[in-house]
Amino acid sequence: MSTETWTLIIVGLTFAFYLYIGYLNRVRETAGFYVAGRGVPAIANGAATAADWMSGASFVSMAGLISFLGYDGAVYLMGWTGGYVLLALLLAPYLRKYGKYTVPDFIGDRYYSNTARAVAALATIFISLTYVAGQMRAVGIVFSRFLQVNIVTGVIIGMGVVAFFAVLGGMKGITWTQVAQYAVLITAYLITTIAIAWTLTGNPIPQLALTFTDFAQRLNQIQIDLGLKEYLRPFQNFSQLNVFFVTLSLMIGTAGLPHVIIRFYTVPRVSDARISAGWALLFIALLYTSAPALAVFAKYNLINTLHGKTRAEIEQIDWAVKWEQTGLLKFEDKDGDGKLEMTADKATNEIIIDRDIIVLSTPEVARLAPWVVGLVAAGGLAAALSTAAGLLIAMSSAVSHDWYYRIWKPDATESERLLVGRIMIFVAILVAGYFGIRPPGFVAEVVAFAFGLAAASLFPAILLGIFDRRMNREGATAGILVGLFFTLIMIILMRSNRLLGTEQPIIASFLGINAQGIGVVGAILNFIVSYVVSRATPPPPQEIQELIEEIRIPRGALAPTAEH
């Protein structure tokens, strides 16, 4: 059977499987819709969180990104995993004990302010929306690349599948589908990585093959010989200062992302919230520690196979011909010496490699069976769909729960709330699909916003709400506003060439810190302003101080879920 037939079969089977799980997990009450009835076992929540977290881009592009950044690619590896330590130690158990439905729920109640609630809901929507557009786009791209379906059709198919289980099952349907999607994506990733590790080094465990064989050094030497930047030496692509700040910003941002935080509301107990963060990070780290190995092996293999060959020799290599047709691999004999050579200079480089090829071409490069290619396509789709679903529930609950029910219509009945929830998630899917079909030109830029804003607004407000008993409405609101506006303005100024159409960015950096790292500065400002303002204004009322005492103690989290 051809690769395409295999891909069609595997993608079709996985989609049918997701729909079936979605159908089994349809819900009838709001607790099921928003927090899966708080009945998700810790390990299943870990797998769902991992699928929620790892996006289409993590799956398809991250190993490629690392292979081009070398050492400095660690900002993404450490940044997107280290945040879970903060989440587990500082936020998740307390938010689970508090036991409502959303992040704005906590901020609004803790700071006894519907203004704070509305601002937190707005931040949630903005952060999730910037993210979800990229996911729907990724679904369309995977369809077009593997099945020759056009991008619009691909996005619509993806929307249909997500709509089915999200509207019917809310958080419950999404959670159990994500567990299945994690299984698909990790299997695809590991088969591919293990195969290339084994073919190249003879050691099947990618992490061990990276550490105990000399392929990383060989790649480093090749890069030196070709005049490229050293692979293993730190701070070749980013300054040391930026590696520090970007890593910290991504970590704090991760811990403040609403779609990740709400996952910890779904487990039965506080102790489950703690360990389920451990499971989540273990499942994430399976992919994240394999990616740097894949990056080294695939890049070494590509350069080693292609560099210095003649056009005729390249045409003997099946996968090189195939990927040249997709445009992800380009050959051009610029100096006319008959040989294709890689160089550091764009003007003379004769082999152009797109970073996405590192993951996508590996099954063929490692001579795996055609069905593995199909599995990789299904894995990429699983990664994108699961992340999209998580973002959609975060976004729609900010509207239907926080705005509609908590602020606008507190006397809404259970069935009204459920109906509004279903309608909002459907609207969110349409909006996400629209952005997937017509992506705004600055999708890559807005990801810096999502992390920066989460780091500068939500993370400090939640952290202080738990750990600083004296923190009050005035302090938190002032802190959020300062953090938010500082970060927004800085990113706009540093990316003005893309966002405002100026020729050059209005400012290049803030004291050497770039747009991706600026969230840390926003967070620090938030902490300082919150502290100063809170100490100059009246302490929070007695019942809020009792609420804080209450969330600090695990006992009593097993309250009946139908309480409100």
Partner: protein, 92 residues
Amino acid sequence: MEERTPNNQNSKAVAYWRANLRAILILLAIWALVSYVAAIILGGVFYNVRFFQLPLSFWFAQQGSMITFVILIFVYSWWMNKIDREFDVHEE
């Protein structure tokens, strides 16, 4: 058995919270050590130290830090469960 006066309850809650903060600070110190110190602040220094076939700073940056993060959360979970039971605030 301690007497359950409000005052007694209160000082117990304070002691529990202090034990909790201590665990968090110790674990976060390790978190910072394997990432910010070993891979970034000392990135250049540890580049010259070999860890099998890799520079030590590179291993921490792309493997060791993440492996440590996973272990830290499982240790935290185990440690907190222990503290919860010691202070009799664990869940039913």
